[in-house]
C-alpha cells in the first residue's frame, strides 16, 4: 500500500539553532500519528514544515495526491500547494482565532472552502454548512452567528468543521485541545476520534499532553531538542519506553 505521506530527512534550522533534524517516517491512510515533546523539542517546527507553513532546509514531504500520485510538496509551485491545503489537507490551529475568520458567520466560515473550490449555489453551501455544524455538535441556529460569540470549545469545533468540509485526507493538528477546559477537551477528543474513523482520515497531532495521544494517536514520535528519540505504537511507547528521555517523560506525568 502506498503511504499517504512520506517524510524523508526533514530538517529545519533557525540559524545555528536546530528546529528539527533529519526526521523521516511514513504515514498510511487511516493512521493517526502523535508527536510529543516538551517546549523547544521541535514538534511545532516539524508540523509547520510538513504543512508548508515553514520552508524546511532539507528533506522531502511526499504526499500521495489524487491526480498525480506521490509528489514532493516541497517541489510544488505555491498555487499547487495552496490548492492542496484547501482541499486534501487541513490544519487545525491551537488557537481557533488563527484558523477562523472571526468577522464572518459560522456558516460563512464553513462554506469558505467550498466557495474557494467553485461552489456557487447559496442554498447548497448553506445546507452543507448546517450539516457540518451538526456533525461537530454546534446547533444549526448558530449558523449565522460570528465565532466571537462562541465559547472556546465551540470555536475549536467550528475550526474543525471548516477544515473538514472539503473531505481532506490528511489533517495536521497543533495542540487541538490546548487551552480548553478539561470537560471540553474530552468532548473534542471523542469528536475527533469519531471523525477520523468515519472519514478515514489520517492525522498528525502535535501535543505535549500524553493523555491526549494515548486516546487519539495510533503511533507516536517522541522529540527532544530537534531529534526524534523514539517512535512506535502509542501504547508501546508509553507503556514500554525504550529511550531514556521517553522513560523520564512517561514517569513525570501526574496521575489523577
Amino acid at each position: 500500500m502506498t503511504p499517504l505521506l512520506q517524510v524523508k530527512g526533514l530538517t529545519k534550522t533557525y540559524g545555528r539553532h536546530i528546529g528539527c533534524r533529519d526526521v523521516s517516517f511514513d504515514l498510511f491512510p487511516g493512521e493517526v500519528m502523535g508527536i510529543v515533546g516538551e517546549s523547544g523539542s521541535g514538534k511545532s517546527t516539524l508540523l509547520n514544515s510538513m504543512a508548508g507553513h515553514l520552508v524546511p532546509d532539507a528533506g522531502q514531504v511526499i504526499f500521495d495526491t489524487r491526480d498525480a500520485g506521490p509528489r514532493d510538496t516541497r517541489a510544488m509551485s505555491e498555487p499547487e500547494r495552496r490548492m492542496l491545503s484547501r482541499t486534501d489537507w487541513a490544519f487545525v490551529h491551537q488557537h481557533a482565532r488563527d484558523g477562523l475568520r472571526m468577522g464572518v458567520s459560522a456558516g460563512g466560515n464553513v462554506g469558505e472552502r467550498l466557495m474557494a473550490v467553485g461552489a456557487r449555489n447559496y442554498g447548497a453551501i448553506r445546507a452543507s454548512a448546517v450539516d457540518w455544524l451538526d456533525r461537530v455538535e454546534i446547533r444549526a441556529d448558530r449558523v449565522d452567528d460570528r465565532p466571537t460569540t462562541f465559547s472556546g470549545g465551540m470555536q475549536q469545533r467550528l475550526q474543525i468543521a471548516r477544515n473538514l468540509v472539503t473531505g481532506p485526507r490528511l489533517v495536521f493538528m497543533d495542540e487541538p485541545t490546548g487551552g480548553l477546559d478539561v470537560s471540553v477537551q474530552a468532548r473534542l477528543l471523542d469528536l475527533l476520534r469519531g471523525l477520523v474513523r468515519d472519514m478515514g482520515l489520517s492525522a498528525i497531532i502535535v501535543t505535549h499532553d500524553l493523555a491526549v495521544v494515548r486516546l487519539l494517536a495510533d503511533r507516536l514520535m517522541v522529540m527532544k531538542d530537534g531529534d526524534v528519540v523514539e517512535t512506535g505504537l502509542t501504547d508501546q511507547v508509553l507503556d514500554d519506553p525504550q529511550h531514556g528521555y521517553t522513560q523520564l517523560l512517561v514517569s513525570s506525568v501526574l496521575q489523577v
Binding site: 475568520r101 458567520s105 460563512g108 462554506g111 474557494a116 449555489n121 449565522d144
Partner: protein, 286 residues
C-alpha cells in the same frame, strides 16, 4: 502666481502614471501601484482621479467632471476649475461632447463611445480589503485567482439580509480573470461597464491605478440561486419622466415630501430640452 505645467503635474510624473495606465490596460482589473503625488486637495477628494486625468489630458481635449452624476456640485465644479486653470482645456457638461470624463461614483446614462475616456475616483481599490486586511494576503489571492473569499462576502449578505445587499461598489470579475472593485458606483451601473470607451480607475491615497480596455467582459459576482440584479428605485424621474435612469431621492419640504430625479443632471436636462416632462416638473411644456 507662477505658471503651472500643463495639467499641474510635471512631465516625469505623467510619464510614470502613463506607464501605470498602460500596464493596467494590458492587465484588465489588475491594481498597479503608482507613486501618488501630493495634490492641492486632500486625500478623499479625488486625488487619484485627478492624477489620472492630468496624465491623459491633451490640449485638444474637452473635459467633463461629475460628482454623483451632477456637474454642479462643489467637488465637480472645483475639479473642473482646477483643470481649466492648469490646462486651459475646453470644458463641458454635455456627455456626448466630452473626450475625458472624470466621475465620482457614477457612470453617465448616455452610452459612451470609442474615443472617450472615463476616469473613476476610487477610495478603496481592494475588493477583499474588509474581509482580509493583510495586503500580503490579498495580493496572493489576486495572483493565484483565489476568490472564494469574495463569495463569502456575498454569502454573508444573503444570510444577514436575505439577498445580496451590496448596493454599490459591487464586485465584478473582469476579462474572466481579476476581481475588481468598480468604485462606489451603484450596482445599477455595473452592466454599463461593458462599453466602447476606455475606463481608468485612480486611487490616490491607496496609490493604485487599474483599467479596462474597451469591450472588456465585466461580470458581476453572484450565486446561481441569487443572481445579480441591476436594481434602482421603482419610480420614473420626477423632472423628465425617464424610466431607465438611476435616481436621486430629494426631500422637498419639511413634511417628508420627496421627489425622485435623475442623478445624471446632463441626461435629465437633455431629455427636458427634447420635451420630456415628469410628474413633478412645474415648468410649461413649451
Amino acid at each position: 502666481m507662477t505658471d503651472y505645467n500643463f495639467a499641474y503635474l510635471d512631465e516625469q510624473t505623467k510619464r510614470m502614471i502613463r506607464r501605470a495606465i498602460l500596464k493596467g490596460l494590458a492587465i484588465p482589473g489588475y491594481q498597479v501601484p503608482f507613486a501618488s503625488r501630493e495634490m492641492p486637495m486632500p486625500y478623499g477628494w479625488g486625488t487619484g482621479g485627478v492624477q489620472v486625468s492630468a496624465a491623459v489630458l491633451c490640449p485638444e481635449d474637452t473635459l467633463k467632471v461629475i460628482d454623483q452624476g451632477a456637474d454642479d456640485t462643489t467637488n465637480a465644479v472645483s475639479i473642473r476649475r482646477f483643470f481649466e486653470r492648469t490646462a486651459q482645456i475646453a470644458v463641458t457638461t454635455a456627455t456626448a461632447d466630452a473626450t475625458v470624463i472624470q466621475t465620482r461614483h457614477r457612470i453617465p446614462e448616455e452610452p459612451l463611445r470609442d474615443g472617450q475616456i472615463l476616469v473613476y475616483q476610487v477610495p478603496i481599490p481592494e475588493p477583499l480589503r474588509f474581509l482580509e486586511p493583510r495586503e500580503s494576503e490579498t495580493r496572493k489571492m489576486h495572483a493565484l485567482e483565489e476568490y472564494g473569499l469574495m463569495h463569502v462576502k456575498l454569502y454573508e449578505d444573503i444570510s444577514r439580509h436575505g439577498h445580496i445587499a451590496t448596493a454599490y461598489a459591487y464586485p465584478v470579475k473582469v476579462a474572466d480573470r481579476y476581481v475588481m472593485d468598480p468604485s462606489p458606483i451603484p450596482k445599477f451601473d455595473n452592466p454599463k461597464m461593458e462599453m466602447a470607451a476606455i475606463q481608468l480607475f485612480g486611487a490616490g491615497r491607496e496609490q493604485r491605478i487599474y483599467a479596462l480596455p474597451p469591450f472588456t467582459r465585466v461580470v458581476s459576482l453572484d450565486f446561481e440561486d441569487h443572481p445579480f440584479v441591476a436594481s434602482k428605485a421603482d419610480h420614473p424621474c420626477g423632472l423628465c419622466g425617464a424610466q431607465d435612469s438611476y435616481l436621486d431621492e430629494v426631500i422637498v419640504d419639511d413634511a417628508g415630501g420627496r421627489m425622485f430625479v435623475c442623478s445624471d443632471t446632463d441626461y435629465c436636462a437633455g431629455r427636458q430640452v427634447d420635451g420630456h416632462r415628469g410628474r413633478d416638473n412645474k415648468e410649461d411644456a413649451a
